[in-house]
């Protein structure tokens, strides 16, 4: 493998491996080359990033190499953090929050069953924002985490307890009623057709 190509692959691996970083040994195994060669390329990459004033840096921390942000950019991250174009809660997060609020305590699997999609990210975001929290373990195989809403959630909406949420069972009934009414109306529609036919004759 050419040196440039190897450097490019190592760079890509560091980028994609995120916060966990990669050990030189792991990279060497993936590329099927000597560890020493990987270390050499890593050092060169570190150097290049510095000399060429790249927007990221490659750091070595506890034996792992990581691609990270540059401290000098913090003021720009701050501007992005408060930028109004950054939606504070995504639709996925909002939906997940509403399910936790009404169905707590719930496991991740419960939420996924309702939303029909993977919810790892949304749950992570909501925990990070302090809106939902780990409130115990379900008595199921694997003892999955049970989630519930936090005090911050209640405080924001001025609720004394979760029982003060607008009654969701009413709403579920309304939805069911809507569907049953629709079915009945479909039947009615059919009847009306025959009535019209009769009247026409």
């Amino acid at each position: 493998m050419e040196s440039n190509q190897m450097k490019s692959i190592i760079e890509g691996l560091l980028f994609a491996s995120g916060d966990e970083g990669l050990e030189a040994k792991q990279i060497a195994e993936a590329l099927d080359v000597e560890r020493s060669e990987v270390v050499k390329h890593l050092r060169e990459l570190q150097q290049t990033y510095m000399v060429e004033q790249r927007g990221m840096q490659i750091v070595e921390w506890a034996g792992s190499f990581q691609m990270t942000t540059i401290p000098e950019h913090v003021s720009y991250f701050q501007k992005l953090a408060i930028s109004p174009t950054r939606a504070s809660l995504s639709q996925a997060a909002l939906e997940t929050l509403s399910i936790v609020a009404y169905r707590q305590p719930v496991t991740r699997a419960d939420i996924e069953e309702i939303r029909g999609v993977n919810v790892d990210r949304a749950v992570h975001t909501l925990v990070a924002k302090g809106l939902i929290q780990d409130i115990g373990r379900a008595d199921l195989i694997g003892r999955p985490i049970l989630y519930g809403t936090t005090k911050q959630f209640l405080d924001y909406f001025g609720l004394g307890s979760i029982r003060e949420l607008p009654d969701s069972s009413d709403w579920e009934d309304v939805v069911k009623l809507e569907q049953e009414t629709k079915l009945l109306f479909e039947r009615l529609d059919n009847r009306q057709l025959t009535i019209d036919d009769v009247n026409e004759k």
Partner: protein, 258 residues
Amino acid sequence: MSIKYKLDAFEGPLDLLLHLIDKNELDIYDIPIVQITEQYLGYIREMPQLELEVTTEFLVMAATLLSIKSKMLLPKPPVLEEMSDLPEEDPRFELVQRLLEYRKFKDLADRLKDRELARSLIFSREPIDFNQYAPEQVEDPLKGLSLADIMFTFQNVVKRTIVKNRVAKIQRDERSVKDQINKLLGYFQKEGDRMMFSAILEDECERENIVVTFLAILELMKMRRITCFQHELFEDIVIQYRGGGETVDGIESDEINY
């Protein structure tokens, strides 16, 4: 290979027809309808009990093919000149248009599939947590949201789930619309010509009964036996009886007998 497996491999009757056309290397603009109908029916005949809806879709197309076939057998007017495209009078015209249209989107779906694959080879990384850089006065993530937003979101999510899991559930009617009409007419005889909708419902708290009552009122309106007023949306409905006797007999009774 079982026929069920074969039919599962098709996205519907149009897909099956396109498959037969390709397999036999037929000209889509000049489909030999007798041959294709025969082959199509061959698949359908051996079709095991699929879901009712799927079966229906395939049967509707079978009926279409048979109808085209019978029209093709009618004597044709003399052909004046050679035509490459099918004239609109050709019984196959509409079917060919549908097949062409469907084939176009099937091709586009293949293109999307290629792109999906290409895109799946590329990924990025989790964004950093920008919140750690937010200034001291952390903006509440719930800012701008009301309890109603939470409630409506939940309602929508549940609705989606219910629709997904819905099996057509039709309960046996506890009470027929006809019974309810007669009951309402009885009310008017006893209680006077004017009633509030809410008053009628007072002892009708069962959901099914509310709906049946509502249907009964609609039927009575249609029969011009009552008139309804409502001053504003969601206000109570005033029902005015217009006379005509205590029972509904005669010609209408068949239509409201449900």
